[in-house]
Amino acid sequence: MSRFFNELLHRREAGIFLMIVLIAIVVGFIEPRFISVETLRITALAIPLILIAAMGQMMVLVARHVDLSIGSILAFSSIVAGMIFRDMPELPVIVGVLVAIALGAALGLFNGVLVVLFRLPSIIVTLGTLSLFRGFVFLVSGARQVDPQFIPRSLIQMSQTSPIFGIPWLVIIAFVVAFVTYLFLDHTRLGRQIYALGSNPVAAPLRGINVVRVTLLVFSLSGALAGLAGVMYASRFGYVNPGITGVGFEFTVIAAVVVGGVSINGGVGTVLGTVLGVLLLGMVSVALPILGVSAFWQDVFNGAVIVLALLIDRTVRERSIRAMAEARSTA
C-alpha cells in the first residue's frame, strides 16, 4: 500500500516535470536562444525568493491553513534589515540576516496565535495581517526607502558571485532551504505530524498530536522563511522600498505551491513537487519576455499555465484514485 502511494506521488510530480520539459521544448523551438545556460541562470535567479517562501507556504497548506501575509512579512523583515545596514553599518551583515529571520518568525507566530487562540480561519487572519504588517512597514520606515548605497556590498554579491559551478550563493541557499525542509517533513516525527494534522484535523489530537504546537510551528516557519526571503530581497535588488517590496508576492508563491501539487485542502504535498512548481512558473516568467510576448499577453499566458497545470494535476490524481479503486476491487 505504501509503495503504491509512493508511486502515486512520483507520478504526480512526473506530470509537472513533463510540463516543464514540454514548455522548454516548445519555447526552444520558437526561439532557439531560449535553450541556453544563460536562460538557466536567469531562471535560477528569478526563483530563489519564491522558492524559500514556498517551502514555508507549503507546510502551512499541508497543515490545512494558508498564509496570505508573507509579502508583508517579507517587506517588514527586509526594511528592518535594510535600516540596520543603513543606521548601524558597524554591525556585521549576519546580524541583519538573523534579525530579519527572527522578525519574520515573530510575525508568523503572531498569525499562528490569532488562528489558535480565536479559532479564526487562517485565510481571514492573514488577510488582515497582510494589511497590518504592511502598515508596520510604513510606520517603522517612515515610508522612506533604504537606498542602494546602504546595502552592504557583501550581501549584494551573494546574488552575483558563486562558490561553485557559477551558481550564485542566493540560489544555493534556496535549494539548501528546500533540502532541509524535505529532511524535516519526511524524516522527523514533527514533520509527519504536519501531514497528519492537515489530513484530518479532528482525528489529529486523538492521535496524540499537539495541534496548537504544530499550528504555531508552521506559521512561525512560514514567517521565518519569508523573513529570510526579505533579506535575500535586499541582496537581489540592492535596495528596499516600503511600498513595492513584496507586494503581490503571496499570490506568486501560493500559485507555485499549488501548481506543485500541494492541496489547499491540507495533508497533501511534497518538497519536490513544490520545487518543480516554482521552477515551472519561474521558467514561464522568463520564457515570455524572451519570446517577445507583449506585456498585454503575459498575464494571460501566466494564468493559462497555472490553470493548465492544475487541470493536468487533477486529471492525473483522479486517474490514480480510479486505479486505486480498481486495484482494491480486483484484490
Binding site: E31, R33, S36, E38, T39, I42, L45, A46, L49, R134, F138, S141, A143, R144, Q145, D147, P148, Q149, S159, Q160, R236, F237, G238, Y239, N241, P242, G243, I244, T245, V247, G248, S285, V286, P289, I290, G292, A295, F296
Partner: protein, 339 residues
C-alpha cells in the same frame, strides 16, 4: 430616559455644528489655503522630494499642506483618496495621476465643489479638461528626445537599443516612448540606431529585472537600454552590473540620484537624467495659493513670479514647467544632490 433624550439632542446639535463649520470654512478669505497632495503611491523616494517642496513653500506662504497616498500605483487606487479629500473640504487637490482617464469623474466632482485640481509631475494626457492646471518638471516633449540623445552620445549613435518601461498604461511613459520613437525615426542623426524592443517591468523589481535580463539574452548585439522609470533603471543597472556588461551595453534613463549613486560610482552607468521634483512641489504650492488669493489668473499666456524659480509662464493646456531642460547626472555632479 430624559437624560438619554438630552444626550441625543446634544449629539444632534454637535453634528449640526460640525456640518455648519465645514460649510463655513472656505468662505473666510484669510484662512490658509488647505492643499493636499496625492502622489502615485507611498514610500516612493521621488515623491518624498516633491512633498518637501510643498512643505517648504507652506512654511513661507499662506497654506497648510498634507498628503495622502495609496499603497500601490494602480489606475484606480487613488480614487478613494480623492473622495476622502473632497469630503474633508480641502481647497486644492494636487495629484500625480496613476491613470490618464480613470480619475475623470471623481476629479470633476472635486472641481464642481470649487476645489482647484492640479496635475503634478504627470498630466491627464488627452483628458486635460478634468483638471485646472498641470505642473510638469520640464516640457515633456523634450524628455524622449533628450534620453535618445544621451544614449546616442554614449554608443556613438549606432546600434540596437531597447526601452524598459513601467506599466503599459502609464501615461507619462507612453508620451515619452512615443517621442523617442519619433526622434529615432525622423532625426537623421539617429539613422543608425534601431529600437529593437520596448518591454514593460510594471515598476516591479523582479519583473523589471527579468525583462532586462531577457533583453540582454534575446538581443546579443544590444548596445543600449533606455529606462525612463526609477524602478526600471535601477533594476537594469543591477542586471548590467551582475552580468559585467557595462562596457558593451550602455544604460540611461530617468532615476533619482540616491537610487543610482552606486552605479555611477562604479561606472555601470555613465549618466542618467531627471529634474527637480522638489521644485514641482514648490511651484505647485505658489501657484495654488496665488490662484486662491486671486493674485494669479489661471489663463494660458499669463505669467507670474515664483521665488527661486523666476518668471513662470502658463503654457498651452494650462501647463507650467519648473525648468527648461532635463538635468543630467553623472560622476561630476551626482554628489551635489540628495533625493
Amino acid at each position: 430616559m430624559e437624560e438619554l433624550r438630552t444626550m441625543k439632542n446634544i449629539t444632534k446639535l454637535a453634528i449640526l455644528a460640525v456640518g455648519a463649520s465645514i460649510f463655513a470654512a472656505p468662505a473666510i478669505a484669510q484662512d490658509p489655503v488647505n492643499i493636499v497632495y496625492i502622489p502615485k503611491n507611498t514610500g516612493n523616494p521621488y515623491f518624498d522630494s516633491l512633498v518637501a517642496g510643498f512643505e517648504d513653500a507652506c512654511k513661507e506662504i499662506n497654506c497648510t499642506f498634507s498628503q495622502a497616498a495609496p499603497a500601490t500605483a494602480e489606475a484606480t487606487s487613488q480614487i478613494p483618496f480623492i473622495t476622502a479629500q473632497i469630503q474633508r473640504g480641502v481647497d486644492v487637490i494636487a495629484i500625480s495621476p496613476n491613470s490618464p482617464d480613470a480619475l475623470n469623474q471623481v476629479l470633476d466632482r472635486a472641481r464642481s465643489r470649487g476645489i482647484l485640481v492640479l496635475a503634478v509631475n504627470g498630466d491627464l494626457v488627452d483628458n486635460e479638461s478634468h483638471r485646472d492646471a498641470a505642473v510638469l518638471p520640464v516640457d515633456f516633449t523634450k524628455t524622449g528626445p533628450g534620453q535618445v540623445e544621451l544614449l546616442g552620445s554614449m554608443i556613438g549613435y549606432e546600434g540596437e537599443i531597447a526601452i524598459l518601461s513601467a506599466t503599459t498604461d502609464a501615461p507619462d511613459q507612453n508620451v515619452w516612448i512615443a517621442a523617442m520613437e519619433d526622434s529615432l525615426e525622423n532625426n537623421p542623426k539617429y539613422a543608425n540606431m534601431s529600437l529593437v524592443a520596448t518591454v514593460y517591468g510594471d515598476d516591479e523589481p523582479q519583473k523589471s529585472t527579468t525583462e532586462a535580463e531577457a533583453l540582454l539574452q534575446t538581443y546579443p548585439n544590444l548596445r543600449g537600454i533606455i529606462s525612463p522609470t526609477t524602478v526600471g533603471v535601477a533594476a537594469a543597472a543591477q542586471v548590467i552590473q551582475s552580468a559585467g556588461k557595462a562596457d558593451t551595453v550602455k544604460l540611461t534613463g530617468l532615476g533619482t540620484p540616491n537610487q543610482m549613486r552606486p552605479f555611477i560610482k562604479d561606472g555601470t552607468v555613465e549618466a542618467f537624467q531627471l529634474w527637480s521634483p522638489y521644485n514641482e512641489g514648490w511651484l505647485a504650492a505658489h501657484f495654488a495659493v496665488g490662484v486662491k488669493a486671486g493674485e494669479i489668473s489661471n489663463e494660458v499666456g499669463g505669467s507670474f513670479d515664483v521665488p527661486k524659480l523666476g518668471s513662470v509662464t502658463i503654457l498651452e493646456n494650462n501647463v507650467m514647467n519648473t525648468q527648461p531642460e532635463l538635468t543630467t547626472f553623472d560622476s561630476s555632479n551626482i554628489d551635489d544632490f540628495d533625493f
